[in-house]
Structure formats: C-alpha cells, structure tokens
C-alpha cells in the first residue's frame, strides 16, 4: 500500500473514530439520564467500532 495513501486514510479514519467516540459518549449520557439500560446501547456500538480489522 502506498504510504501517502495510508497516511491520508489513517488520518480520515482516525477523525471518523473521534466522531464516533464523541457521538457515542454524548448519546450514552443522554440516554443514560433517561434510563441507565439505554445508556449501554450507544456504548455497545462504540465497542463494536474497532473491529474493522476482522472484515
């Protein structure tokens, strides 16, 4: 893989990663304030996020 392409792809996926983390944490705080069980659901999605390597 071209190293420049890899660096750009890495930066973009890392940015997407930060967005996913922020969205999941905010959603978990909001949902958890209503019902703690619901607060677990956005975190479940966050825990699945890092698994692209297995695809």
């Amino acid at each position: 893989m071209d190293t420049t392409v890899a660096a750009v792809g890495s930066d973009r996926l890392r940015l997407a990663s930060y967005l996913v983390v922020a969205t999941a944490l905010v959603a978990a705080a909001g949902a958890g304030a209503v019902d703690l069980r619901l607060g677990l659901l956005p975190l479940a999605a966050l825990l699945g996020w890092s698994h692209l390597r297995s695809i």
Binding site: A28, A45, L47, L52
Partner: protein, 196 residues
Amino acid sequence: MKVARDWRTWLAAVSVYTLTGLGVTLAIGAGIGELGQVAGQAGRLTLGLAVCLVVALVLAARELGVLRFRLPERPLQTEKVWMHQFGPLGAATLWGLHLSLGFFTRINYGGFWLLTLLAFALGSPGLGALLMAGHWIGKALPVWVAPLALRRSADGSEVVGVWETDARHYRRVQAVGLGATALVIAVWLAVLAAGA
C-alpha cells in the same frame, strides 16, 4: 467490503451485510438474555453487574497494555473466495452471517465478551438483543464510512492496512468504550444500593 465494483453493487452488498448481521445478532443477544433469564439472573442483578464491572475494568486495562492476556477466540477470518463462488450479494450475506456470529472469528478487543456477559447477567432477552445488535452496528459502521475516509476503493488490503498501522489508537478507543461502560454499570450499582 472486501471487493467493491461500483457504488450500486457496493450499496446493495453493504446493506445486505449489515441487515444479515443485524438479524443474527438480535437473535443471538435474545438467546443469551433468555439463558440469563432461565438461570435466574434477574434476581441476582447486583451480583451480575458487579462481575461485569470488574470484567470491564480488567478488559480496559488490557486494551491500555496494563494487563496482558489472550482473549478466547477462534483465529478465523472470512473467506474472500466466497466473492467468486457466490457473487457480491451472496458473499455479503455469508460475511454478515459469519462475522456477526462473533464466536467463530477473531476477537481483537474485549468489548464483545463484556457485552456477551452483560446480556447474560441482565437476564433480559430484549436488552440482550439490543446490546449485541448495537455492537454489530458499531462493527458494520467502518464498512459504511471506509469509502468516505479512503482515497481508493474500500478494498480489504487498504482498510486493514490502515487499521493495523493505527492499532494503538483503536485499542485506546476500545478502552474508552470499556471505561464508559464500567462507569454506567457503577452508577447503576450505586442506584441499586441507594434503593436497597
């Protein structure tokens, strides 16, 4: 997806992949929750949550490199050859089935096992289904965003290559998820203790 020819094929394949996995994970999560219910976990909620809290913290420490141990897993990956045997949609369906089963492929991070344990400990088929389906949505999400994030097509070598070069970052992301889950469980335990 491992192979993307044109955007319509890609969209159909990724949709089939996501929906197939969603169905499987809903069923598996409900099954695990049902097992927990039969085992009487709902009556031992505090104990179950306490165990999950410890497991979440241990797994977070593992992702941060504080602890080192292997996760239970079968070191298998999906078969690229399915694309040639079954075409894009058939292969996407099979990849969705295989990867969403979770227990039959590589498990890189501890979150999967924490959610499996939570689904059992809560003893609720509905909540178990939502937890495992939520994990699958997060797992399928990179496939949707990869074409936006990468300059070339989202072929497997490029995506996996990027992921591997940035492995420490994704371990920290997983640790954040595990830590946040531990926090929710701790608050839940505090609420239960206050109500007792």
